[in-house]
């Protein structure tokens, strides 16, 4: 997948400007930056879910196809088997009125993948018993695992993970990152991991782009960005991650 020159404006305000990056099957790319940099908006634009009043420009190159990022209908067609999202607030993204198993079965049917909820749960380290649970009976870490199981159930080519560890304790964070990376590597899924936790993603993403105020201010091998931050935002993130 290649994103070329993604831009987004709302009411004349430029929120994203000339954002470009590419990712291959099985690769993990970190999207870093301070709060408000536009990280989550990039994912929403790729999914065709930018705010209704947003004007989105740029092109998504998908295999041999060229998809205008303004074409929400074409992007909707890619959701599921093409692009799947693991949201930040997993518990809020689940249907509170239906069991985990029912939600998994629905998603598998929708995207014509094999409908075996128990196997999908086992992939993310949850026992069969969780299929009968409602979202309110899940801890934060369990809800994130269910959200990951739902995303993986689509068998996507690219997994977009939006700060999936943000509200978890550090043990759950480490477990979730390990799970994300291992599942994506095993199934050759490209992983785009949005995070502001540089220390956490440094272990799992070889490559990164850094956003600030909607623009890419740094990109390249994460090890090199850490060793020699090329500009002030990256330098501030590295310094804050090393402090303490």
């Amino acid at each position: 997948m290649r994103v070329d020159d993604l831009g987004c404006t709302i009411d004349g305000r430029t929120l994203l400007d000339a954002v470009s990056f590419s990712i291959c099957a099985g690769e993990a790319l970190a999207v870093l930056g301070p709060s408000g940099a536009g990280k989550s908006l990039v994912l929403r634009c790729l999914l065709g879910l930018a705010p209704a009043q947003a004007k989105v420009t740029g092109t998504l190159f998908w295999d041999e196809r060229r998809v205008p990022l303004a074409d929400r209908r074409a992007l909707a067609g890619l959701r599921g088997r093409g692009l799947a999202l693991v949201p930040q607030a997993a518990a809020a993204s689940l249907d509170p009125m239906r069991t985990v198993g029912a939600q998994l079965r629905e998603l598998c049917a929708l995207h014509a993948t094999d409908s075996r909820p128990h196997e999908r749960l086992a992939e993310v380290g949850l026992s069969q018993e969780f299929a009968e649970r409602y979202p309110h009976a899940l801890s934060g870490g369990q809800a994130q695992r269910v959200a990951l199981a739902l995303a993986l159930a689509c068998r996507p080519a690219v997994l977009l993970a939006d700060e999936p560890m943000a509200s978890l304790d550090c043990v759950s964070q480490a477990e979730l990152v390990e799970l994300l990376v291992s599942r994506c590597a095993a199934e050759q899924i490209a992983l785009v991991l949005v995070s502001h936790d540089l220390a956490r993603v440094a272990r799992c993403c070889p490559r990164a782009i850094v956003l600030d105020r909607g623009r890419v201010v740094a990109s390249g091998a994460l090890a090199e960005l850490l060793a020699a931050p090329p500009e002030a935002i990256t330098a501030a993130m590295v310094a804050a991650a090393r402090r303490g």
């Binding site: 301070p34 709060s35 304790d169 043990v171 759950s172 936790d197 956490r200 272990r203 804050a240 303490g244």
Partner: protein, 242 residues
């Protein structure tokens, strides 16, 4: 000032002992669901099931009439994890601060009160933000406003529950630096944090909870460098480092 013995809240918290006072700093760590937030809520009277003993300056609060808790609410303030939902979205920062003073039985700030200016300076919040609603503030500004609101009650003890978890790390450090500066002025601090790196230099001692029970307590440097309990070791091992 605030001494708890055998603090218990149903099955969520069991047998916690602690002593909190002016100038003292206690960190509370543990996995999600370990009872940290329950403890924070219990200490400000928001857990009706609280059992054991909780004394404020020698006066027992558990079983005492609600009026006995009023004094505690003026002297102990809780800052919540998510300032976006903890602050009334319909009140400007100025009115939130005024409300906190009213509830704590303090006198009203006048519009140009030098104490209000000093309060804003203390939390590094620009005066022009006073008349904004919480929704018009950035995450870091909102958390500073929430801390300003708590300080407006002139508490002796501040309890902060994961106040950095929604912030990016450079902004989170500015909040931690603010908490350190408040401690240096004599305010007691109980800091709940998933991020262990914020604790050294901010608190003196740390209490580790697992499944609602205390499993380890001691000086922060010792507990983090030589964890004894399995739950503490798991937290220390999982902390990311560059």
């Amino acid at each position: 000032m605030l001494v708890g013995r055998g603090l218990t809240v149903g099955a969520r918290l069991c047998g916690v002992d602690l002593e909190l006072g002016s100038g003292a700093g206690l960190g509370v760590i543990g996995r999600s669901g370990s009872g940290k937030s329950t403890l924070a809520r219990a200490l400000v009277g928001l857990e009706p099931e609280l059992a054991g003993s909780l004394k404020l300056s020698g006066r027992e609060l558990i079983g005492a009439p609600r009026s006995a808790w009023a004094e505690l609410r003026a002297r102990v303030q809780l800052v919540w994890q998510d300032a976006a939902t903890a602050m009334d979205p319909h009140l400007t920062v100025r009115r939130s601060i005024a409300e906190a003073r009213l509830l704590a039985g303090r006198d009203r700030f006048t519009r140009d009160d030098p104490r209000l200016a000093a309060l804003l300076q203390r939390v590094a919040l620009e005066p022009e933000l006073l008349d904004r609603l919480p929704g018009a503030l950035s995450g870091g500004q909102r958390q500073r406003a929430a801390i300003a609101r708590a300080l407006a009650a002139e508490p002796e003890l501040l309890i902060v529950d994961e106040v950095t978890s929604a912030l990016d790390r450079p902004v989170a450090w500015t909040i931690v630096d603010l908490l350190r500066s408040l401690r240096a002025t004599g305010i007691g601090l109980m800091m709940i944090s998933h991020d262990l790196s914020f604790l050294p230099g901010t608190v003196d001692r740390v209490l580790v909870l697992a499944d609602g029970r205390p499993v380890e307590v001691g000086p922060v440097a010792t507990v983090l460098a030589e964890p004894q309990a399995a739950a503490t070791r798991a937290l220390v091992d999982a902390a990311p480092r560059l």
